[in-house]
Symmetry: C2
Subunit: 185 residues, 2 copies
């Protein structure tokens, strides 16, 4: 299948597949379960900075943008940030480009020559998975079941076959797996 | 917390957390994604027989029992099989003991001296997780997203904190992780 770009996903989640509680709370994700924040064993970030360094742009939904917007620092190393929203005005924030539909965003990212796009936020990841626009998934599962919340998973038009690339278990109990989406024929 | 026995879970699931399609279909689980059934690299069973050897009994719901009942061989090495059901008659099948409620089942398993019970089936696993009766989870994720289906996950009265015990990635892409449930205090 010819795709305009490769969507790359890098999500922290619970073992039961939630990326946030229903109200958006993420404290369970970073609190750790063994007396401190998750630890990759080397004082590091579980590969997040290297992941961001390897993308050309970001694509997220309005909810994720509004969660991140008040933060003092964007963790995106100056990469262009594209936001899907039918309600945000185009000039709402100089740091972002607003697109009213996925089609508009895909066209803009393609026109900008983006080859690899960090897709973030549960609903946006789900939308791009369903549209066949995700090529790679890195899922970092923290050792807890939270029972309910936001998730990138949900109905798909067809199974998404994955190829396991690597798995690492970190001190503190996070298990991080990277998959590539298999493209048939 | 004092628990009458340790519930042990051993489930195959998709990366998005489903153990069967909505109609119960499991073919995606065993079909593999690289030209054959899942392969543990040694012609083996991913530890299933050893897991069963280590339990005193099984506990499952009626749906799982009815799925397994027609099979020529029970994969349970002669262990006692307890089934939760309000509709199955007590003498429906000589191979099983029917309990009308979780309370009855817990009492019977305790009275029989069971220390470690294999809990199977999505709804029963969820019920026992919510009741604080699961002590160990082995989750084997096959590399596919199926979008919808039966799942052991769902609302819980409180977070279930886990301790990572081990993770192994098998040839063919299955990632198997074993967690222990953390008991506070």
């Amino acid at each position: 299948m010819d795709v305009p770009f490769t969507g790359a996903v890098f999500l922290g989640m619970s073992v039961d597949g939630f990326i946030a509680r229903p109200d958006g709370d993420l404290s369970w994700l970073t609190a750790g379960t063994e007396g401190g924040p998750p630890d990759d064993g080397a004082g590091g970030d579980f590969g997040f900075a290297a992941f961001v360094a390897g993308v050309d742009a970001l694509l997220m939904g309005r909810s994720t943008y509004e969660f991140l917007a008040p933060m003092a620092q964007w963790p995106y190393q100056g990469k262009p940030v594209h936001v899907l929203s039918t309600t945000l005005p185009p000039g709402a924030d100089d740091r972002i480009t607003v697109h009213p539909s996925l089609g508009h965003a895909v066209a803009a990212l393609g026109a900008a020559g983006c080859r690899r796009v960090y897709v973030d936020g549960g609903r946006t990841v789900h939308t791009l998975l369903a549209a066949g626009l995700v090529g790679e998934l890195t899922l970092s599962r923290v050792p807890v079941l939270i029972g309910a919340g936001l998730t990138p998973f949900g109905p798909l038009p067809a199974d998404v076959l994955l190829e396991h690339e690597r798995t690492e278990a970190f001190p503190g109990g996070m298990v991080q797996t990277t998959y590539r989406v298999r493209r048939e024929g």
